[in-house]
Amino acid sequence: MEMDDVVMEETPGTNAGEGSGVEVAFRSVTKRFPPHIIANDRVSFEIERGTVHALLGENGAGKSTLMNILYGLLQPDEGEILVRGRSVTIPSPQKAIALGIGMVHQHFKLIPTHTVAENIILGLPSVPFFFPAKREIRHIVELSERYGLRVDPRARVWQLSAGEKQKMEILKALYRRANILILDEPTSVLTPQEVEELFTTLRAMKGEGKTCIFITHKLNEVMAVADRVTVMRYGKVKATLRPSETSSQELAQMMVGKKVIAVVPRRYTSREMVLRLENVWVMGDRDFPALLDVSLTVSQGEIVGVAGVAGNGQRELAEIVTGLRKVKQGRLFLGEKEITHLTPREIASLGVAYIPEERHLGLVGSMSVAENLIFRTYDRPPFSQGFLVDWGKVEAHTERLISDYHIYPPFPALPVKLLSGGNRQRVLLARELERNPRLVIASNPTAGLDVAGVEAIHELLLKAQEKGAGILLISGDLDELLKLANRIVVLFRGGIIGEREREQWTEDDRRDIGLMMGGVKR
């Protein structure tokens, strides 16, 4: 299908400067990250001038890599890139800007204490040395009106919301006369209203003949704003087509793919509730609600998977259950006990284990394996009767855990930072699961691990389940959830958009969950 597209459109695209044609073309672009990863595998497709082109795919599909190549941040190993029909090499972002390519990153690169105008003109050679911002403000205001990007150029950046910062980044690119604008997951930090405003801007830019490339994994956004969409999976282009010629379902299928699900059916018999969230509201770091009216339960011996694209409230969910973030409204219960206002330490001592997403937070790299293993228990028997820590007992405990959890190399005094990622994760799980917790909160526990590491962690989680722990498994990896979970809830923009419970997951479930992750209700 992809090849058809290329062949069909090659003819009008090769000559530059015609009314409508190909703005950017990728020809067999390959990028490897040694030793094992092929981030882009012979990627070929074309982007038409004056269109909004969506790049759709799961985390790790290679979308950002490809765009970083176009913006000059990475160099391709093979293949060529054509901009307006001419083959180009782009060694640096400076060159990309000279070619009229602008990029708005997922994480903004701004100077918070400077004004909007100062940030926009920063680094341009044409800017006068004294009072640089003054003269340019008029030009900035004119640009912002033309594209509906309302930001006060005199405001300081730290005062801006995420949405305003993004508008500023777009202005910055436009100010540098960008004809091609790359937006890396622009909606992940925006409120629904801001998303609408962004779409208005994109349409205005399209009207001026500018080209927008829009990285996303949200299906409804593709359907709403894109003229064409390229679906990527595992570094390869699956298809390039018009949204009007396809459906959300078909796109979801292409994005997620068909895989044989290794199902290990597991039943849990108890219906005793371990965790209950009642109409919980939580504010995110950016001062809009990260969780809106979420109700959720986890039973004894049940693995509840939380699916969703990163940034839809997963982090906040983990943080409120562990007491690290304050709940704005609603209540949390652990069994019958209300834990809404308890401290992290109190909640942990009630039997809640936490495998945080940021692995460096769970462990202290410069401290030893033995020390890391008693982070939860150093101040209580048997290791301590109050004031002194009994290192003899710690040593024995460490050696037992090292052998039980197969931590390698088996040296209690070794600083944790010298262990491999998988072994570090084993240390963390050993510490957290050793206490026989009632509830386990695991956030992407296998991210970045190799196959053996993933298997080991999965086994440990299943063993905890067997012992009766309720497990809230938050994961961006749908396969992981389908392998382990008894029930899956899907978080989208801070709410639970859907829920499925199965003894056996099917291909339809995968498609439906993929759709819900993209914001489509099923």
Binding site: P344, E346, Y378, W391
Partner: protein
């Protein structure tokens, strides 16, 4: 060379002044004591990433509290020293509580707040010795009356080394080490110092660690201040005579010891030798004390600048040809 003195002679004098005789060693020990007390306290604070730069002021407040006890409170002679050390510790700890409070409550950087309080303490002492506490028998000089003998610390033999504070310093350095290694609080302190974010995730109170380390380091500085006035001066005098910059030098003591209290036993002695060797240069060669200070400063500078190289191993490799 500037003074037509051979550098070799100068170094000889310097080393003789620091280690050359029993007297020289006693002079070095005299300087070592406050550095050891303050330095091991600061080692604890630095290990928790609490940067207490205010030890100088905390020393002075300890000295002020001791003077008040000796001259004005006049407790029974048998307990005078005990009360002096107790209140001196509390005064130093109390003075250190201010930056601790500002840091925990308003996130004020403790480096700045504790440093600024040094100047306040300095001028409080100046005010006291020139104003309300000015001695009746000292005429034009600005210092207080001499303490009653019940407030004097005993010294080792004929030297001027007060044995109580020397002994305390050694004990404190060893206890500090065991505190970090063996106690639950010391363990928490190390977690907070290594990774405040992990500590937060584990629910360890960073606030408690800040208060604890500030009070311990401030209290030990106050204790050292008591030792200086009760053991050496026997009165309260100009602040730069009470503390020869010990509060600042102790920062280097703790830092060179890599925030290990046990290692301050060594580093405090080395920097004590640096001070007493400098004194010898001044006295026997007539080099102005400013020049000696520059000299000392340069030695410290090079010590610190090259400390980094201690992390590397020298290895000789044959050049590969081709």
């Amino acid at each position: 060379m500037l003074y037509r003195i051979s550098p070799l002679v100068a170094y000889t004098v310097f080393f003789r002044g620091a280690f050359g005789s029993w007297y020289a060693i006693s002079e070095t020990l005299k300087r070592t004591i406050p550095l050891l007390l303050v330095g091991s306290g600061l080692a604890l604070a630095f290990r928790a990433q609490v940067l207490n730069i205010g030890a100088e002021g905390q020393i002075l407040f300890g000295a002020v509290a001791a003077t008040w006890v000796a001259l004005f409170l006049s407790p029974p002679a048998g307990v005078t020293l005990l009360v002096m050390f107790l209140l001196g510790f509390l005064a130093g700890a109390g003075w250190a509580l201010i930056p601790a409070f500002l840091k925990t409550r308003f996130a004020v950087n403790e480096v700045l707040s504790s440093l600024m309080l040094n100047y306040v303490a300095f001028n409080v002492v100046l005010y006291l010795i020139a104003g309300p506490w000015k001695g009746k028998s000292v005429r034009g000089f600005t210092y207080t009356d001499t303490f009653p003998e019940s407030a004097w610390l005993g010294t080792l033999g004929m030297t001027k080394v007060p044995y109580f504070t020397l002994f305390s310093g050694i004990v404190v350095a060893i206890l500090g080490y065991y505190f970090l290694k063996k106690t639950a609080w010391g363990f928490e302190l190390r977690i907070v110092g290594n990774s405040p974010d992990t500590a937060r995730l584990l629910g360890i109170s960073e606030e408690r660690v800040i208060f604890l380390t500030m009070m311990l380091s401030g209290g030990l500085a106050g204790f050292a201040g008591v030792g200086e006035v009760a053991g050496i001066h026997h009165l309260l005098r100009h602040p730069s005579h009470i503390s020869l910059g010990y509060g600042y030098t102790a920062i280097i003591v703790a830092w060179l010891a890599r925030a290990n209290p046990l290692a301050t036993l060594l580093t405090a002695f080395l920097l004590g030798a640096l001070i007493s060797g400098g004194d010898a240069l001044r006295v026997s060669l007539g080099i102005p004390f400013q020049v000696v200070s520059v000299f000392n400063g340069l030695i410290l500078f090079f010590l610190i600048a090259t400390e980094r190289f201690g992390h590397y191993r020298v290895s000789v490799r044959r050049k590969v040809k081709g």
